[in-house]
């Protein structure tokens, strides 16, 4: 058995296929759990019970809803432009699934002589890839809005695009200090080569920050995390930034004309994106899969995965908590927050951080 697994994972192709299928299944399962998780948590926060009939604690509710949508009529309005209208949900799916390939979900596993990384693809430029993919995700929304040939989707699509690109700029700027910090952490700040690879960024957080406090980047880069997380909520179009689908103003926004399973695909992509961004925040700021207990016998390889999921779900809880607490912003407030607060703040933080880090690593510029 071990020998067989070893042979499989030595083959580049088959190990890629296995990892991809695993990540794919994980993301689908996560989306199912996440929708239920959100509904339950929001329900308890609003003093309701929430879905509790299908399966234990109602955990199969999302599956039931998904199956229902599969059997629903997919109305394709007369005025849509067929090709792009049908392609838009698929375009929403692809970046959502690709981003998670970058995230390491556990410590590398040793099968015999072979080391298997629990990561879909370990690119050197993972951070750039993630930003590129989230900018591609804009297309699904703007094209869904445009191809629907209807008023509200068009308004929703344009709004969504402007919102997403605004907060993407803030997100990108907030991530620069992370790379700077990672570069100066390598080899104790001597002339090392920096990195944007997620696996190495996780490895850099293994030490301790001070005493028992772990060396997670969040302790040194808290403003970056706050800006990243705020931008992440806006990127996924979640409350309080869900103006894209503000029911009271523009009905369903870009997916007004989408019904049945086409709508379900958009919905799925949104929840997977939420999970992706939480997972990336955990990887960059909270030490990824690092945690105690990875040297336990037999279950040692499962412990890092447990820590990773625990941290990610803690952030997802924050997502849901924020949604249950804050009312929706007005569009001008949204743009003001993005351009007049988040971007200047991230620029200021970048300048301050880089100067401090420069003094710490290189000494005073005149010395």
């Amino acid at each position: 058995m071990t020998h067989f697994l070893e042979t499989v994972f030595q083959s580049v192709f088959w190990s890629a296929v296995i990892k991809v299928v695993f990540v794919f299944a994980l993301l689908l399962l996560t989306a199912l759990i996440l929708v239920w998780f959100e509904r339950r948590v929001v329900a308890f926060m609003q003093n309701r019970v929430g879905p509790n009939r299908a399966g234990p604690f109602g955990i199969l509710q999302t599956l039931a809803d998904g199956l229902k949508l599969l059997f629903k009529e997919g109305i394709r309005p007369r005025k849509v432009e067929v090709g792009l209208y049908l392609a838009a949900p698929i375009m929403a799916m692809i970046p959502a699934f690709l981003i998670f390939l970058m995230v390491p979900i556990g410590a590398p596993i040793h099968i015999g002589e072979t080391t298997v990384t629990l990561q879909g693809a370990d690119l050197n430029i993972a951070l750039l890839f993630v930003l590129a993919m989230s900018s591609i995700a804009v297309y699904a929304i703007v094209l869904a809005g445009w191809a629907s040939g209807s008023k509200y989707p068009l308004l929703g699509g344009i709004r969504a695009t402007a919102q997403m690109i605004s907060y993407e700029a803030a997100m990108g700027l907030a991530l620069v200090p992370v790379v700077v910090f990672a570069s100066s952490q390598i080899a104790g700040g001597s002339l090392g080569v920096g990195t944007m690879s997620f696996s190495r960024i996780v490895a850099l957080q293994a030490g301790s920050f001070r005493g028992p406090v772990p060396g997670w980047f969040v302790f040194s880069l808290l403003p970056s995390f706050v800006i990243f997380f705020t931008a992440a909520i806006a990127e996924t179009n979640r409350a309080p930034f869900d103006l894209v689908e503000a029911e009271s103003e523009i009905v369903g926004g870009y997916h007004t004309e989408y019904s049945g399973f086409r709508f379900a695909i958009f919905f799925l992509a949104e929840y997977i994106n939420m999970f992706n961004l939480s997972a990336i925040a955990v990887t960059l700021f909270f030490g990824g899969w690092l945690g105690p207990g990875a040297d336990l016998p037999y279950v040692g390889w499962l412990v890092p995965i447990f820590w990773f999921l625990l941290k990610t779900y803690a952030l997802l809880f924050l997502f849901v908590w924020i949604r249950a607490t804050l009312p929706r912003l007005r569009y001008d407030q949204l743009m003001t927050l993005g351009w007049k607060w988040l971007i200047p703040l991230s620029l200021a933080w970048l300048v301050v951080f880089v100067l401090l880090q420069g003094v710490r690593v290189f000494g005073m510029p005149w010395s």
Binding site: L101, L173, S183, T256, I265, L334
Partner: protein, 139 residues
């Protein structure tokens, strides 16, 4: 780097789009299909749609996209610098500092010109239009 690092990405792109396409096709097969003219109208909260969707959008959206292009270019340069932060030292910080300063200046300029103001344009304070009393007209 070799292209084999991109193999999982290619497989995932195929799998994700395949899953979406197949499930949409399956839904098409098993779901009822019963279009009526009213059902196929663009959504308009139940009213019969009379107008085409809006033909023009505020130019502000365009300005946001333009500003975003500039910030995007800046971010890419910053990343290229950040991975060599320790090697470039104060020299690198200086070079990137000049660049960032110009970016900040761009932002300040745009801000001062009001391109970031999304609230309803402050209407010029003209005298309020005199409203003719309706009763006299009616009489």
């Amino acid at each position: 780097m070799s292209l084999s690092a991109y193999l999982p990405i290619a497989i995932m792109a195929l799998l994700a789009s395949g899953f979406a396409a197949i499930s949409l096709g399956l839904s098409r097969l098993i779901a009822p299909h019963n279009p009526t003219p009213e059902k196929l109208d663009p959504y308009e909260c139940g009213i019969v749609p009379l107008q085409e969707p809006v033909q023009r959008f505020p130019v502000k959206f365009y300005l946001v996209a333009m500003l975003f292009v500039i910030f995007d270019v800046e971010i890419v340069f910053l990343f290229a610098w950040a991975v060599r932060f320790t090697q470039l030292g104060w020299y690198g910080i200086g070079a990137v500092g000049i660049f960032t300063l110009l970016l900040i200046e761009t932002l300040v300029y745009v801000w001062k010109r009001g391109a970031l103001d999304w609230n309803v344009a402050r209407r010029s304070r003209r005298r309020p239009a005199v409203v003719e009393p309706l009763t006299e007209k009616a009489a």
